[in-house]
């Protein structure tokens, strides 16, 4: 599994309230939520973000509420991966559970600039910055999480298990 796209970069503590404010949580449809993705931190996000683009944050990305609407809005906005120095834990597991690829890599998060073109090899955890001609090594997913991602998320994996 691979991703390639242009980077949209943000700072520390990007919280779920700015990713998708509560005033839009009266719907649960991903396509609808995507229209307001990142609106309170970057009102122009939906115009700038193209399919396959990559979000980069620094520490504690996705802190705050448990709203799965946050990774869902990012996924449905066409973002192929989120890279951050660290993730807040509920956001981390929500992203995995819904099949939004995320990688923790402090070096990449700090070195990659807004607008750089980046590709990711999820199997090896290697992040390539084509603009700066540099590579960074992220921790690849452990096998347990790879299995969830390979199934397309926790629901699909559970569906297979329930069917037996």
């Amino acid at each position: 599994m691979n991703a390639k796209g242009k980077v949209l970069k943000y700072g520390d503590n990007v919280d779920t309230d700015v990713i998708i404010p509560a005033r839009y949580l009266n719907v649960s449809n991903g396509e609808e939520l995507a229209k307001y993705c990142m609106i309170d931190i970057d009102p122009d996000f939906t115009n700038k973000a193209k399919k396959g683009d990559i979000i980069i944050g620094l520490k504690n990305f996705g802190c705050g509420s448990s709203r799965e609407h946050a990774p869902l809005a990012i996924k449905c906005a066409g973002i192929s991966c989120v890279i951050a120095s660290t993730f807040a834990r509920i956001f981390y597991r929500n992203a995995i559970n819904i099949g939004l690829p995320i990688l923790e890599c402090d070096e990449a998060a700090n070195d990659i600039d807004n607008g750089n073109v980046v590709s990711i090899d999820f199997d090896s955890g290697i992040i390539t910055n084509h603009t700066k001609n540099r590579t960074y090594q992220a921790q690849p997913f452990p096998p347990f999480i790879k299995e969830i991602m390979a199934s397309g998320g926790l629901v699909e994996q559970t569906k297979e298990k329930i069917k037996g």
């Binding site: 009266n26 705050g64 448990s66 709203r67 559970n97 559970t158 569906k159 298990k161």
Partner: protein
């Protein structure tokens, strides 16, 4: 190597003798909870799994508390989908308007959560129940869906920070000041992925309501859970509220902690978190002159009876500033009734505050107290992120009910020790 209290609860529920930090486990769940916002997403995911019934109709809890009473048509549709699901699935613990209260005050009050359990809730403040010596953590809608279908959840076993609580709590310092102080000290990611385990002789100084407030905000330090030992006060609370039997877990004496931090209650002051992060704390003497437009006293953090009591004590016989809208929200119907019995409602209304039915409403900028651009609110809630309670140019200052009530009177952030209460 010994295990922490959290690790022992997780090991037991995973059917293992021993677990170590970083280990991925599958644990059996005692309670799976969701609210109107997160259940609306979870029920669709639940159906996609192919499951036709929940794993246990007594162990799934749905509370309609966020956008209720329905704030608009879309919220009404969302609540309707939750309601239909709850009835179809024969969910025993379904709380609709009339029975509902704010989930994290309601579940302990109704005796649904007790010590030693493993609880997941599709709401980040589910960590509240750690006050009862349970492992309790916030998860998302997909985890809720899978939890409802299978009665299990995957976890990465956390390491822990130990907080040794010592000393005696001064007047007008509450659980809120303790947790704001801790978050200010370690930062909003200071306990990321980890447990916050509270221990020490100072815990007896903390009422159960104080402990609920402290455990509630563990998530604001990034923690997976916050947990308190099960002492006499905790056992008394559990027995008063629940008929369930429960297991008491204790951390091993040789348990390893990433860090050990001592918190001396006697050194704490009323504390305020300035915009726009909970770790941006100042003690009350450092706040300066901050004029305010609104005060909110309530939420899963501070909507309990002791919070109402201190607010009533400060507001009784006084008037809130003409320039401050003061909104007081008891967390549950039972707390509401108790406020009537104790005549706090009279105190609030005569002081010029509004007293509303239980709802999460204003805390997350849902309804019942949205802020306009440039407005400032002192709030007993848990988050002060950009736009949390309304316009992106509004500001939220987090504080205890005592500071909030004193500030409502002063029209600016104020020290409750200077405004004073009637009980002095």
């Amino acid at each position: 190597m010994g295990m922490t209290m959290t690790q022992k609860i997780l090991a037991k529920h995973a059917g293992l003798d021993n677990v170590v930090p970083g280990q991925l486990i599958q644990a059996k769940l005692d309670i799976v909870m969701g609210n109107d916002i997160t259940t609306a997403v979870a029920l669709n995911e639940f159906k996609k799994t192919g499951a036709t019934e929940v794993f246990d109709t007594d162990k799934v809890v749905i509370v309609l508390d966020h956008f209720t009473p329905n704030k608009d048509i879309k919220a009404a549709e969302q609540c309707k989908s939750c309601r239909t699901f709850a009835y179809d699935m024969n969910i025993k613990n379904f709380f609709d308007v009339g029975k509902a209260g704010i989930e994290h005050a309601l579940l302990p009050e109704q005796g649904i959560v007790v010590p030693g359990q493993v609880i997941i809730g599709a709401d980040s403040h589910t960590c509240t129940y750690g006050a009862l010596g349970a492992f309790s953590t916030g998860i998302g809608s997909t985890d809720m869906a899978i939890g409802m279908a299978t009665g299990e959840c995957w976890f990465k076993v956390p390491s822990a920070i130990k907080f040794e609580i010592v000393g005696k709590k001064p007047p007008y310092v509450s659980g809120k000041d303790v947790i704001l102080h801790i978050i200010g000290k370690i930062g909003v990611d200071g306990a990321l992925y980890r447990s916050m385990e509270f221990t020490g002789e100072g815990i007896k100084e903390l009422s159960m309501d104080d402990r609920f407030t402290i455990a509630n905000m563990a998530i604001e330090a990034g923690a997976k859970n916050g947990i308190f030992p099960v002492d006499e006060a905790c056992i008394a609370y559990a027995k008063e509220h629940s008929r369930k039997t429960f297991d008491i877990f204790e951390g091993d004496v040789d348990a390893e902690y990433d860090e050990e931090i001592t918190i001396d209650l006697s050194s704490l002051e009323p504390t305020v978190s300035f915009p726009h992060l909970p770790d941006n704390t100042r003690t009350i003497d450092q706040v300066g002159d901050v004029k305010i437009d609104q005060v909110v006293i309530g939420s899963c953090t501070n909507g309990r009876i002791e919070d109402m009591a201190i607010a009533a004590d400060i507001l009784r016989g006084k008037k809130v500033s003409d320039h401050v809208r003061t909104i007081i929200i008891p967390a549950t119907q039972e707390i509401y009734l108790e406020c009537i019995r104790r005549e706090y409602v009279t105190d609030f209304i005569e002081a010029g505050a509004i007293f509303s039915m239980p709802t999460c409403g204003p805390c997350l900028g849902g309804h019942m107290g949205i802020l306009a651009a440039g407005e400032r609110c002192v709030s007993t809630t848990n988050r002060n992120f950009v736009g949390r309670m309304g316009h992106v140019e509004s500001e939220v200052y987090l504080a205890s009910p005592a500071v909030a009530a004193a500030s409502a009177i002063a029209g600016k952030i104020a020290d409750p020790r200077k405004i004073g209460g009637n009980a002095e």
